[in-house]
């Protein structure tokens, strides 16, 4: 089966992420669906790096990438207002995270001499994708500093988990990315619920409800698609029993 290349997925994720943030910035909260692609692209790059069994678990890659992305977005929000000029904010966030992600990847390749193909590209993709997601979440939740750790950690898990969950000899890109979509929907659902609770949230409550509804619909569709793939991939699904070899 032909795999989607990093470049294609990342190009799509970048455009869709920027579109999503600009839509959210103009008060159209449904634009959050465009943030699902960056989740996929980041999960795909975690897969690209962790596949080679480097010296660190894919949990570390995930939280490293999300740390670059989230830190860029948090720092940028100090001086560039994300509400009044969303486009400038996105440009700043993408530029900062791209520089840090690319620099780290090049260092890991040239100085530390990891023998992983395209490590610099994958590092940059994880950093920029998570930065886009963080920026979108900040727009929805408003700049309440108490919520920053939550935004960081929930994105981290959604990015690192799809490949970590699917690891094994029978892993394939299609199922991993579908799982990434499931988790992207789950994450935006939780972000929507938290936005409803944050009374000082940047958006009116009806917009938060819209996010929850759209995410829930996406979640149902994604879970059905994912379970279909699981059924065709699993050796056998039973309610209960013992392994045949020993009985």
């Amino acid at each position: 089966m032909k795999e989607i290349s990093i470049h294609t997925l990342f190009g799509a994720a970048l455009l869709s992420g920027i579109a999503g943030i600009i839509l959210i910035g103009h008060g159209i909260s449904i634009g959050i669906v465009f943030l699902w692609l960056p989740f996929l692209s980041a999960a795909n790059s975690v897969r690209g790096m962790a596949k080679y069994g480097l010296g660190t678990g894919n949990a570390s890659i995930g939280y490293w990438g999300a740390a670059v992305g989230a830190t860029s977005a948090f720092v940028a929000s100090l001086s560039v207002s994300c509400r009044s000029t969303p486009f400038l904010y996105v440009a700043a966030v993408v530029a900062i995270s791209l520089v840090i992600g690319l620099a780290t990847g090049v260092l890991a390749d040239k100085v530390i001499r990891m023998k992983i193909p395209r490590i610099e590209l994958n590092s940059a993709v994880i950093a920029v994708s998570t930065a886009l997601i963080t920026a979108g979440s900040l727009l929805i939740l408003g700049s309440n500093y108490g919520l920053y750790p939550f935004i960081y950690i929930i994105i981290t898990l959604a990015v690192l988990h799809p490949y970590n969950a699917s690891t094994g000899a029978g892993e394939n890109q299609k199922r991993t990315l579908t799982l990434a979509l499931v988790e992207a929907c789950m994450t935006t659902l939780v972000i929507g619920i938290v936005a409803m609770l944050a009374s000082g949230s940047a958006m009116p409550i009806s917009d938060d409800v819209a996010i929850v509804v759209v995410s829930a619909c996406g979640l149902v569709i994604a879970v059905v698609a994912w379970y279909r793939l699981v059924k065709s991939d699993t050796y056998e699904i039973k309610w209960t029993g013992y392994s045949p070899a020993e009985h």
């Binding site: 920053y148 750790p149 988990h161 029978g170 939780v190 609770l197």
Partner: protein, 296 residues
């Protein structure tokens, strides 16, 4: 006077909550075979040991626990703004927050288990629904208690002990730290003893036999519900001791005032030296007790 009482109360409460959180965290990770010993459960089908363990590969323990604790604490922190800030409101808000984060845990746990088994097709590992659904409520219960304890601990550290960080950030820090402690103390008991009970006591697990885990239990096939029953008697308690001691000693060192701002630093430095002495004594004892490995 009120400040001193709040500090004393906070120290006692924080130590107790941290101790309980440690026990629950270790049991949660063992009920789902999470963290490092997960590699053994993952390896087992490849060498022909088809098992009925709950393979909850969410991530390393630190990020996973940080997520449960931070989600619970964030929701509780937002709810207390609606409920008002008294102790009862904090308790109710923490319970609601912990329940919400438990739902997230269940979702991630189910997705991980099914995906991991699906990737085991080449090794003929069957996906048994009951080996997922039986341990899941147990795992969720321990996850709920961990998140609740850490959220209450974050509130105690913020309002009674006076830590300037916001409640969700404290919960995030506690989550990462408890994950690091839990995966480095409690997991040894699960990974080197419980999974390999058919090897003789008193030795590490050679790399050549890794993956040859116990698939049969006290009676019938072993499932993950049996695991916390075993590990809680020793592994869980030591994990609780480690995290409880860390939080308690850290808070306790701030009760004194004999050297101004440097008091706690001096107290903790003395404690560090005492612990180093204990490590030395324990090593002397263990070497004398077990001795060299001999050919037999």
């Amino acid at each position: 006077m009120a400040a001193i009482i709040s500090l004393l109360l906070g120290t006692a409460l924080a130590g107790l909550l941290a101790f309980l959180a440690g026990i629950f965290e270790d049991s949660e990770s063992n009920a789902g075979s999470a963290s490092n010993p997960n590699s053994q459960v993952q390896l087992a089908p490849q060498i022909g040991n088809r098992h009925r363990y709950f393979n909850k590969a969410i991530s390393g323990e630190p990020p996973a626990n940080a997520l449960w604790a931070t989600t619970a604490a964030t929701i509780a922190y937002l709810l207390t703004a609606h409920f008002g800030g008294d102790a009862f409101a904090v308790l109710i808000a923490s319970i609601i927050g912990a329940a919400a984060s438990t739902l997230l845990l269940c979702a991630y746990g189910v997705l991980s288990h099914i995906s991991r088994i699906a990737s085991m097709k080449n090794f003929e590992q069957t996906m048994y629904w009951d080996s997922l659904l039986t341990p899941l409520p147990l795992d969720a219960a321990f996850g709920f208690l961990t998140a609740l304890m850490l959220t209450l601990l974050a509130f105690a550290a913020h309002s009674l002990l006076g830590n300037p960080f916001s409640v969700p950030l404290l919960a995030f820090f506690f989550g990462i730290t408890i994950g690091a402690i839990g995966s480095s103390t409690g997991d040894i008991y699960y990974g080197a003893e419980r999974l390999y009970q058919h090897y003789i006591f008193g030795s590490g697990i050679p790399i050549s036999v890794q993956g040859d885990i116990d698939v049969k239990g006290e009676y019938g096939y072993r499932n993950s519900v049996d695991t916390p029953y075993f590990t809680m008697r020793f592994g869980g308690l030591v994990t609780g001791l480690a995290f409880g001691m860390l939080i308690f000693l850290d808070a306790w060192s701030r009760l004194f005032t004999f050297a101004g701002v440097w008091t706690s630093v001096i107290v903790v430095s003395v404690l560090v030296l005492i612990i180093l002495i204990f490590i030395y004594l324990l090593e002397v004892y263990a070497r004398k007790r077990y001795g060299r490995y001999t050919e037999d």
